[in-house]
């Protein structure tokens, strides 16, 4: 292969470096941090920007992730733009505070580099951490590549501050966080123009005719009203994610939907999946298309709120679908993606058969051949009209 001397405008960054660079360009007011593998390099790199005076951020090094989120909540309630990053056990230790951040409607942006939860202890990728937090009231965006991880961080800030809810940006541990890939960066000034100044309507430090309280006691006469408002904010977030993604595409040329469909229009069967495994599945789709099989893949980018109507519309007309979860719900009935996608399409008149396949736990590799095997199972279901195993572990 000949080497060209043309210098590329692209750079090669790992997922972690790209997220840290995005945080530097955003220049948040406060970053409370307690680093954990595989997201350590996000905080490590960002803290060097702080030490070098390249950002104005107050970096608060705390004694645990519970404290990191607590400090973030305090700072956000005071009116600061707050960002942090974590993984696995770190996210688990934040559990209590995740609900408090969303319940107080604080627009904190956190990168979660997906890693398996112990036990047994494991540092590699699966989605058990962020999937466990799926009902914590955080908007969840999932990223396929290094480029998308970087881009999602900017969009997350806009989404969070518009809907007054915290946003979690997820990317795959090691597979994306530690992999160097080609990517385009955005100029600092363009980032600042896109994210804008953060001016909360109310905050503890803002002088206002309307005094505010955060974390007050709320009895049966009012608690449910708060929750209904929170629920409505989450429902409304879908439209905001669409608007912010459209504006991002217009300004920077990279388009991201709520879901990302590949060759679904005339497909008989499809895999529905998250994050980096999508690309691997896309390679299998291309191979099988060449062999004459009508197969496709759908990636869920926005999981909270769930774009259920878009999922149903995209899967309408298909005959069989496999939902691939990189996590087990330990419910004897498949993973979260399976249950939510299956529920989303329930009202379709001719709904496809849907199966659950659990793959890649604790970093187990998911290869093109694994995706092909699932497609072959789906094609057999279409041929025979029978599902032998509704739920099954693969890549084992």
């Amino acid at each position: 292969m000949a080497i060209e001397n043309a210098k590329s405008a692209q750079v090669g960054l790992t997922g972690n470096s790209a997220v840290a660079l995005a945080m530097k360009q955003i220049n948040p007011d406060v970053c409370p941090a307690y680093p954990i593998t595989p997201s350590t390099a996000v905080i490590e790199t960002f803290s060097s920007y702080v030490a070098d005076g390249e950002v104005d951020t107050e970096l608060i090094t705390v004694e645990s992730e519970h404290s990191a989120m607590s400090a973030g909540i305090g700072a956000a309630a005071a009116g600061a733009r707050v960002m942090t990053a974590t993984s696995a056990q770190g996210l688990a230790l934040m559990w209590e505070m995740l609900y408090i951040a969303s319940g107080m409607r604080l627009p904190i942006v956190m990168t979660n580099v997906n890693r398996a939860l112990a036990a047994p202890i494991n540092i590699h990728c699966d989605h058990s951490d962020s999937m466990g937090a799926r009902d914590s009231g955080w908007v969840q965006l999932y990223s396929e590549t290094v480029q998308e991880s970087y881009d999602n961080v900017f969009m997350a800030v806009r989404i969070a501050e518009k809907v007054k809810l915290p946003v979690m940006v997820c990317l795959d541990g090691f597979i994306t966080s530690h992999a160097i890939e080609n990517m385009d960066t955005i100029e600092d000034a363009d980032v600042q123009a896109f994210v804008g100044e953060y001016e909360p309507e109310v905050s503890l430090l803002k002088e206002s005719e309307l005094p505010t309280t955060y974390g007050a006691m709320s009895l049966p006469d009012s608690y449910m009203v708060f929750k209904k408002q929170q629920s409505e904010a989450m429902s409304g977030a879908k439209k905001v994610v669409e608007e912010v993604s459209a504006e991002f595409a217009k300004k920077f040329g990279r388009e991201y939907g709520l879901i990302d469909s590949y060759k679904l229009d005339d497909a008989d069967v499809a895999i529905v999946i998250f994050n980096s495994a999508t690309g691997t599945t896309r390679v299998a789709v291309d191979e099988l298309r060449k062999e004459g099989h009508k197969v496709g893949v759908m990636r869920i980018r926005l999981f909270r709120p769930l774009p259920h109507a878009e999922i149903a519309e995209a899967l309408n007309g298909l005959k069989a679908v496999a939902c691939l979860d990189r996590v087990d719900s330990f419910n004897d009935f498949g993973g979260p993606l399976f249950n939510e996608v299956r529920s989303s399409i329930y009202d379709l008149e001719n709904r496809p058969k849907v199966i659950s396949r659990i793959y890649g736990l604790g970093g187990r590799d998911y290869k093109v051949s694994d995706a092909r095997s699932v497609f072959e199972e789906l094609l057999k279901i279409v041929e025979t009209g029978t599902v032998e195993d509704t739920t099954k572990y693969i890549t084992i």
Partner: protein, 198 residues
């Protein structure tokens, strides 16, 4: 698309080697991936790293299982069934393509390594380079990664020695002292010049 697999032990620099190779190819206009596969994280544990290099965007995000290029920074990994440190990792020749290029860090001749790799009579190419001795001579430490990169530039047309040196000088000037940069550049050149084919 070219697929590369690096085998070494933690602290021998194979993750950095894959990084430098990826960055150099990216700078020449290619789409690249460079990523590690860590097993148990401790000094001396087997480590793998991978590269994909292509003229088109790369969508695959699995490990490299059919490499056309295998670089072995530590010859004691040859013959081990767990050369990646994990039960599923296989040996150094696992899945390599029929015409794969093997570059082994060893003072021994290529013919002996071909036998050790169980590649006698097969079309695979086997090269050797004494990267450990070069790194001790040029850097003063046993980090055989940069001589292996130099050897790769000589054995294949994946990358040129000049581009590797240019990338290393540009991207690592902030991280390492001038003496370390110069030592590694000398090590790359020595690896390039002293590789043997057999």
């Amino acid at each position: 698309m070219l697929e590369v697999r690096w085998h070494g032990r933690a602290q021998q620099g194979v993750v950095t080697a894959a990084k430098v190779l990826g960055e150099t190819c990216l700078r020449s206009g290619k789409y690249v991936q460079a990523f590690p596969e860590f097993g148990p994280e401790r000094m001396g544990a087997p480590v793998k790293a991978y590269n994909r290099i292509s003229d088109d965007p790369i969508h695959m995000h699995c490990s490299v299982s059919s490499p056309g290029y295998v670089l072995i920074a530590d010859p004691t990994l040859i013959g081990m069934s767990l050369a990646g440190g994990m039960e599923t990792s296989g040996g150094v020749t696992e899945g390599a393509t029929e015409n794969a290029v093997f570059i082994v860090n060893t003072p021994k001749p290529p013919a002996e390594m071909r036998t050790a790799l169980e590649l006698d009579g097969k079309p695979a190419k086997v090269f050797t380079v004494d990267a450990s001795q070069i790194s001790i001579d040029k850097i003063g430490r046993h980090i055989p990664n940069t001589p292996m990169l130099g050897a790769l530039a000589k054995a294949t047309d994946m990358v040129t020695l000049e581009d590797l040196i240019d990338d290393f000088k540009t991207n690592y000037a902030k991280k390492y002292s001038e003496a370390v940069i110069d030592g590694n550049v000398e090590a790359m050149k020595a690896g390039y010049e002293s590789i043997s084919e057999g």
